[in-house]
Symmetry: C2
Subunit: 236 residues, 2 copies
Amino acid sequence: MVEARRSARSFLPEPIPESVLTACFDVAIRAPSSHNLEIWRFLDVRNAETRAALNHLCLDQPQAQQAANLIVAVARPDLWRLGAERMLARLRADAREGAADADYRVWLPRLKKKYELMVPLLFADGPLHVLAPAKAALLWAIGQFRPMMRGPIGRSEQQMWAVKTTALACENFMLALVAAGYDSCPLEGFDEPKVKRLFALPSEARVVMVIAAGRRGPHALIPQIRHERGFYVERV
Amino acid sequence: MVEARRSARSFLPEPIPESVLTACFDVAIRAPSSHNLEIWRFLDVRNAETRAALNHLCLDQPQAQQAANLIVAVARPDLWRLGAERMLARLRADAREGAADADYRVWLPRLKKKYELMVPLLFADGPLHVLAPAKAALLWAIGQFRPMMRGPIGRSEQQMWAVKTTALACENFMLALVAAGYDSCPLEGFDEPKVKRLFALPSEARVVMVIAAGRRGPHALIPQIRHERGFYVERV
């Protein structure tokens, strides 16, 4: 599946069945989610006018224009608190009802504490991230004495954190499409500020990629060039 | 495979055979690489002293201490130029020798131009990124008239770009481990500045995650909590 996934450079107009797309989204979010905060969001673009506007913002690339579906993968670091609240509600309910799984029962109190205390401590940096510099300085000071996590603190670090988790889900999504016999092409050539405006995304959000998806067309593939293993793996 | 991948909370000491690990690295880099610049790097930590130091920098988490292998996934945005040069050398050689694949032959001149002109134009922003603000302003100005890519320009945007591509490869790597019967746990709880120092990584590099890998131990899994589909997929 991994080797079958190739970025398609052309697409047929054949649409992806609803059930396939739904299943692929369900596979996408089986990726590891940092602190299980699920800050990934996927916009499944169907409205014809919106789609035309998005094609244009993807610089009218043929892949964007031809693909049956365009999916916009969005990282929403600003939703960390919502994620933490939802996790906490779920953990409290599971604790009340008594979890069936013995290992889970053992972990429950620790997990609750994580979302009550540790996650807010890690992410909170004040409105407009005003406390970020002070927090970074504090962590730096502690880091002089012992190993210490440094964040993610501040707007751009939290965006990077959210982009990372969302990318994991994107890879799953594209592999799921391959498993179902469909193809994809992850696009990074788009006007991000305008795409954010088109979907009324908040300023903290980042558009991770626009995934063109569908059935590959003629002349869709060129050889995948990868360097020798020693180029990217180092034994240390 | 995707559903079988779960973050393991404990590991057995059983080592991963060399051939399995090698195969997993080969699968990892089948992920889409942005502009095929292959800025991902993997440190396969074997030296006992280095490993002990890394365990400590991962805050002595049991997963880090127990796992047979720790792999440090590193994003190296600073290597974009090396990636472009290597691609160009390869494309020129393929053009000289005459590519067997007809589609590839058609794409070759366009690809060469991409690495000669477009990629440097996109990424170059001067020593220490001094030209980044001017470049961003220029792209913003052009963006007033037509859709325009905005980068990645500047240190933190190029890091975010590199982290994204590296994360795609990390997901592949973890899925490959599952397919081979092994488990993993992606760790983000580490002291990044100190990990960078341990491996003498340049300041531009980012440690994307430390992947604990091995055979899962007892009580390794807790239920994977995911919210309903409507929470993360929106039809627009």
